[in-house]
C-alpha cells in the first residue's frame, strides 16, 4: 500500500538511480537484512545501514535531506496553521481586520500617518488608507480566504481529475477517446478570460439561486471555475499513469479473479496514484492562490471589504505611489506563501520521482 513512483514502473530501478538516497541500498523494495542466513549473528551499525528500504522511506529520506524543501515545508505549514487559526485569532480579538482607525490617518486622501504606511507596535504592517484597517490582520484573514478558495478548488480538480483519469485510462477505447476530447475541449478555454467575462453574471445567478450574500457567492464562483479548469491537468497525468499501471500483473490478477471495474479502479489502481496526486496538488495549490490574487487584482472575484490577497492587492495598487508599504507588505507575504508551496511541491516531486529532474 506504499506509494509507487508514478513515472517508474519498477521502483527498484528508480531507487538504484538515486544519488542522494541512502549510502548503500540493495536497490530492491524488500528487506535483504536479517532473514539472510549469511548475515552476521550480531549486526553492527554499518550492517544495519545495508538494510533495504521501502520506496516511501527512501522518498522521505530524500525529502528530509533536502534542506530548502524542509524550510519551505515549515514555512508552508506555518501559513496553513495561521490560516486555520485566523478565525480563532479574530474571535479572540488578537487580529482585527474590520475596525477602522481614523485617528491614525490624516491629510488629503486619509493616508496613514507615520513611515511605511503607519507601521507601529500595534500595526505591524501599517494601516489601510481611507479606513485605518490593520493591514497585518487583513493579510492573515485574507490568507484564510485565499487558502480556502485555493484548497477547495484543488480538491475539486483532484477528485474530478482522478476519477475521470482512471476511468479514461483503464477503460480505454471509446470512453477514453471521448474523455480525452473533453479534456482537450476544457483545456482550450481561456480560463482567465472566462473568469472575467462570466463573473458578474454567474455570481448573480449563484446569489439568486441560493440567496447567499455576495462574498460566499463569489468565493463559490472562484472555487468552481478554478476547480473546473484545473481537473484536466490531473486527468491527463492520472490517465498516463493508469495506462502503464494497467499492464501490470496485479491488475491482470485482479481481473482474472473477476474483480469488478469499481474495485479495479479504486482499490487496485488508486492506491498506486497517490504520489502524482500529492505532487500535483502541492504544485497546483500555489498556482490557485496566485490566480485568486491576480483575478482579485483585476477586480474579479472576492471584493473589498472582505479580505483576500486579491482584494487587498486590488485596493493597494491604487496607492502604489502614495503609500508603497501598503502594496509591499501583502505582496511580499503572497510571494512567500506561493514560493514556499511551490518549493514544497518541487521537493516532493524530486523525492518521489527522482528521475524527473535528473534526465
Amino acid at each position: 500500500m506504499y506509494p509507487r513512483l508514478y513515472s517508474e514502473p519498477a521502483e527498484a530501478v528508480c531507487a538504484s538511480r538515486d544519488q542522494r538516497g541512502a549510502a548503500v541500498t540493495t536497490g530492491l523494495g524488500y528487506s535483504a537484512g536479517t532473514d539472510d542466513p549469511m548475515a552476521p549473528a550480531a549486526p553492527t551499525d554499518s550492517v544495519r545501514a545495508i538494510q533495504g528500504l521501502s520506496p516511501g522511506r527512501l522518498a522521505l529520506r530524500r525529502l528530509l535531506k533536502d534542506r530548502v524543501t524542509m524550510v519551505a515545508f515549515f514555512v508552508a505549514i506555518f501559513f496553513v496553521v495561521l490560516a486555520l487559526a485566523a478565525p480563532l485569532l479574530e474571535a479572540a480579538k488578537l487580529i482585527d481586520p474590520q475596525t477602522p482607525h481614523p485617528e491614525l490617518l490624516g491629510g488629503w486622501g486619509s493616508m496613514p500617518i507615520g513611515p511605511f504606511g503607519g507601521v507601529s507596535p500595534q500595526h505591524w504592517m501599517g494601516v489601510v488608507p481611507a479606513t485605518g484597517w490593520d493591514v497585518f490582520s487583513r493579510v492573515i484573514a485574507g490568507l484564510t480566504v485565499s487558502l480556502v478558495v485555493a484548497t477547495l478548488a484543488v480538491m475539486i480538480s483532484v477528485v474530478v481529475g482522478t476519477v475521470l483519469g482512471i476511468v479514461s485510462g483503464a477503460a480505454g477505447g471509446r470512453v477514453d477517446a471521448l474523455l480525452s476530447r473533453v479534456i482537450d475541449f476544457v483545456l482550450s478555454f481561456p480560463q482567465t478570460l472566462m473568469l472575467i467575462a462570466l463573473s458578474t453574471i454567474v455570481i448573480d445567478i449563484i446569489q439568486a439561486a441560493t440567496g447567499a450574500p455576495r462574498t460566499p457567492a463569489s468565493m463559490a464562483f472562484m472555487i468552481c471555475v478554478m476547480g473546473f479548469f484545473g481537473w484536466p491537468y490531473f486527468a491527463r497525468i492520472i490517465r498516463g499513469q493508469v495506462l502503464s499501471l494497467k499492464q501490470r500483473e496485479f491488475i491482470e490478477a485482479a481481473q482474472s479473479l473477476g474483480a469488478r471495474r469499481g474495485r479495479i479502479y479504486f482499490k487496485e489502481l488508486l492506491p498506486h496514484l497517490w504520489a502524482p496526486i500529492l505532487v500535483y496538488t502541492t504544485m497546483v495549490l500555489p498556482q490557485n492562490i496566485a490566480t485568486e490574487a491576480a483575478l482579485g487584482f483585476l477586480g474579479v472575484g472576492i471584493q473589498s471589504p472582505t479580505p483576500s490577497f486579491g482584494s487587498i492587492l486590488n485596493d493597494s495598487v491604487h496607492y502604489a505611489r502614495a503609500d508603497p508599504a501598503y502594496f509591499m507588505f501583502p505582496g511580499l507575504t503572497l510571494f512567500i506563501v506561493v514560493l514556499s508551496f511551490n518549493l514544497v511541491g518541487d521537493g516532493l516531486r524530486d523525492a518521489l520521482d527522482p528521475k524527473a529532474d535528473r534526465q
Binding site: 488629503w108 486622501g109 481611507a130 479606513t131 450574500p213 455576495r214 471589504p305 485596493d315 496607492y319
Partner: protein
C-alpha cells in the same frame, strides 16, 4: 440625468418668484467656510493659439443640445458651439460666483404679466458655421425638439413643464414635437417670433425662467440639419469652435476655430486656443497620474469633467502643487430608506438607522476632514436655503440609542437589511464603516455594490422596491434654488408611477408634504421662499426620516502647468470654465 447634473423637475411649477432680482446670484460662497485653494496664478497676458487638451474619463452620452443634461456637457456645449439666450458669466477666481449674463440675446430677458411672459431679443451678427444667420426661428425650432420625447431623450424637460401648452390626461404634452407636428399650433401660440424677438408664454409665473434658458436645451437648432436621433453627435456650431471630422464615442474629437463666429457678438468666450481636443478614452485614475506627472502635451491639459479619485488625492498636493483646486461639490450624498420595505415602513426603524449612521467613517473614506463634511441637510451648504440641521447623534452616531429604538419598535434583532451603493473604491470603504455602526445597533446589514452605469437605473426600477431596504444616492441643484432639490426628490406626484419611483427612490408619499411643496412654490418673496424650502428639508430629515443626509464633499481638479486662467465656475455646473483658459507657449 444620473447624479451628475440632475434630472428634470417635471411639470408642477417651480418658483412663483415675481422678483427677478432674486435670481441668479443667489449662491453664497462655499458656506463651509473653507476657502478653495487657488489654482491659477495669473501668468501674464493671455495669448491666442496652441491646443487645449481636455482629459476625460467619462463618456459623452449626448452632444445634441436638446439632449444634454450632464453639467459638464452643458458647460462645454455652451462655451464651444451652442450659444444660449442667457448664460452664466466667467469668473476670475475659483470662489467667485458667476452672474447671469446675456449671450445670444441682447439682455437677460424681459418678464411681463407677473413673470408669465418672457421675451428675449437676439443680437445681430450671430452666424452658424456655414455662414447663415442664427434666427429666432432656429431657437424656436430647437426648443420644440424637447417635445419629441420619443426621439429627443435624455435632456431636461423644463420646456414641457413651463411653457403654456395644455397636457393630456396622462400628463404628456399635447404638442408632440417637430417631427410628428401634432399640436404644432399650440406650440406656435405659446412660443412666438416677431423679428428677432422670441417670446415665451408660460403656464404660471416663473421668476427665474431666464436662469432656466441657460441650459443648452433652450439653444438653437437648424431645422435643415436635424437628423433626429442621428443628430446626437452631429455638432453644428454657432459658437467659437466647430468639430473637425466626426465625434468618436469613447475616444473623443477635436474642435477647431469656427471662422463664422464674430467675437464682437460675444463678451464671454475669449476663445484663446486654436484647438480644443477632448480625449475621453481615459480613466480618472490614469488621467490624474498624467496631470500630476505633467509631461509633454499633458502640460496643456485640464481634467474635464472628472474630479480627482480618492486614490489620487494623496499625491496631488505634492505632485501638482499650484496646479490643483479643491472646490465644494454641488452634491449632497444621502441615504434613502425604502418606504416599501418591511423594515423601513416603520418610522422607528428609519430613525434607528439615522441614529446609528457613522458619518465619520464616510468622511474618512471620502478623503478626510479637509475634503468632506458630515451633513444632515438635503440642501447643499452652497445654497441660500441650507438649514444646517444638527446631526442626530454626533458624527459617529449612537448605535446604543438606535438599538433601544429597534427594541422599542418590537423588532426581533438582528434586523436584516439590504443596502445598495454605487460601487467604487471610496464607497466600498465608506459603507464598510457605515455597516459597522448599523450592525452595532442591531441591524444585520448586507451591502450590495452596483456598478455606476446601472446604478440609478436600478434605483428607478419598480423591482427594487421589494429587493432593497435603503439606497445611497447623490443630488445637486440644477441652479441655485432649493426648489430644484426638495421638489424633484420628494414630491410623490411628479415621481411615483407604475414604472417606478422616479427620483423619489424610497417611495416617500405624503399628502401634507406635497401640499407644503405647493405652498412653498407659491411664496413670492425669494428669501422667505428659500427659508421655507429649508424648513421642509428639516421635516424630511428629522420628522419623517425620509432621507438620511450623509456628507457633502469637495471636488479636486488638476491642470497642466501651461494652462492659464482656467477657473472652476461653481455657479455654472462646477467644472473648469474653458471660456477664459489659454495655453502658455
Amino acid at each position: 440625468m444620473k447624479n451628475t447634473k440632475l434630472v428634470a423637475v417635471v411639470a408642477t411649477g417651480l418658483g412663483l418668484a415675481l422678483t427677478v432680482s432674486a435670481c441668479g446670484s443667489a449662491t453664497s460662497p462655499g458656506a463651509s467656510g473653507t476657502p478653495a485653494a487657488s489654482s491659477g496664478a495669473a501668468a501674464g497676458t493671455p495669448v491666442k493659439g496652441g491646443t487645449l487638451r481636455l482629459l476625460s474619463g467619462t463618456q459623452t452620452e449626448h452632444w445634441d443640445p436638446q439632449r444634454t443634461y450632464v453639467g459638464a456637457q452643458i458647460e462645454l456645449g455652451n462655451r464651444l458651439f451652442a450659444r444660449t439666450l442667457t448664460t452664466w458669466g466667467t469668473v476670475k477666481s475659483d470662489t467667485e460666483q458667476a452672474k447671469l449674463v446675456a449671450d445670444a440675446a441682447t439682455d437677460t430677458g424681459k418678464a411681463s404679466d407677473g413673470g408669465k411672459t418672457w421675451a428675449f431679443t437676439l443680437k445681430d451678427g450671430l452666424k452658424w458655421e456655414d455662414g447663415k444667420a442664427v434666427t429666432c426661428d432656429d431657437f424656436k425650432y430647437g426648443i420644440s425638439r424637447t417635445y419629441a420625447v420619443d426621439v429627443i431623450t435624455g435632456g431636461p424637460n423644463y420646456a414641457i413643464g413651463f411653457i403654456d401648452i395644455p397636457t393630456n390626461a396622462d400628463g404628456s404634452s399635447q404638442y408632440a414635437g417637430p417631427y410628428k407636428k401634432t399640436g404644432q399650433d399650440l406650440y406656435d401660440k405659446a412660443v412666438t417670433c416677431s423679428g428677432n424677438t422670441i417670446t415665451f408664454k408660460l403656464k404660471q409665473p416663473v421668476g427665474d425662467f431666464n436662469n432656466t434658458v441657460t441650459m443648452t436645451a433652450f439653444g438653437a437648432f437648424r431645422a435643415d440639419k436635424d437628423l433626429g436621433d442621428k443628430s446626437n453627435y452631429q455638432i453644428f456650431s454657432n459658437g467659437p469652435y466647430k468639430l473637425q471630422g466626426t465625434w468618436e464615442q469613447n475616444k473623443g474629437g477635436t474642435f477647431v476655430r469656427n471662422d463664422q463666429w464674430d467675437p464682437k457678438t460675444d463678451d464671454i468666450r475669449k476663445a484663446y486656443p486654436d484647438q480644443i481636443t477632448i480625449d475621453e478614452s481615459l480613466t480618472a485614475e490614469t488621467l490624474y497620474e498624467r496631470l500630476i506627472a505633467n509631461k509633454g502635451d499633458d502640460q496643456n491639459a485640464i481634467a474635464f469633467p472628472d474630479n480627482a479619485p480618492s486614490t489620487a488625492l494623496a499625491n496631488i498636493q505634492g505632485g501638482a502643487a499650484g496646479r490643483y483646486v479643491a472646490v465644494p461639490s454641488p452634491y449632497t450624498r444621502y441615504l434613502v430608506p425604502n418606504y416599501k420595505s418591511k423594515v423601513f415602513s416603520n418610522e422607528m426603524a428609519r430613525k434607528a438607522l439615522a441614529l446609528a449612521t457613522d458619518r465619520a467613517a464616510y468622511v474618512t473614506a471620502a478623503g478626510g476632514k479637509e475634503l468632506a463634511q458630515p451633513t444632515n441637510s438635503m440642501i447643499n451648504p452652497a445654497l441660500p436655503a441650507f438649514p444646517n440641521t444638527p446631526l442626530p447623534a454626533g458624527e459617529k452616531g449612537d448605535p446604543a440609542a438606535a438599538k433601544a429604538l429597534l427594541q422599542q419598535a418590537g423588532m426581533t434583532l438582528p434586523v436584516k437589511i439590504t443596502v445598495t451603493y454605487r460601487k467604487n473604491d471610496t464607497l466600498d470603504k465608506a459603507f464598510a464603516g457605515l455597516k459597522l455602526g448599523w450592525d452595532a445597533a442591531g441591524f444585520d446589514t448586507q451591502l450590495v455594490g452596483i456598478p455606476a452605469k446601472q446604478y440609478y437605473g436600478t434605483l428607478q426600477s419598480p423591482d427594487s422596491a421589494s429587493k432593497y431596504d435603503a439606497y445611497w444616492a447623490g443630488w445637486g441643484a440644477d441652479y441655485p434654488s432649493a426648489s430644484t432639490v426638495i421638489a424633484p426628490l420628494f414630491d410623490s406626484r411628479v415621481n411615483i408611477t407604475a414604472g417606478g419611483p422616479g427620483q423619489d427612490y424610497g417611495y416617500f408619499d405624503n399628502k401634507e408634504f406635497n401640499a407644503a411643496i405647493d405652498a412653498t412654490n407659491a411664496i413670492a418673496d425669494g428669501t422667505v421662499r428659500e427659508k421655507a424650502w429649508g424648513d421642509l428639508d428639516v421635516q424630511l430629515t428629522t420628522k419623517h426620516y425620509a432621507a438620511i443626509p450623509l456628507i457633502v464633499d469637495k471636488f479636486v481638479f488638476a491642470k497642466g502647468s501651461n494652462v492659464q486662467d482656467a477657473y472652476v465656475n461653481l455657479t455654472f455646473t462646477g467644472y473648469y470654465d474653458v471660456a477664459t483658459a489659454w495655453v502658455k507657449k
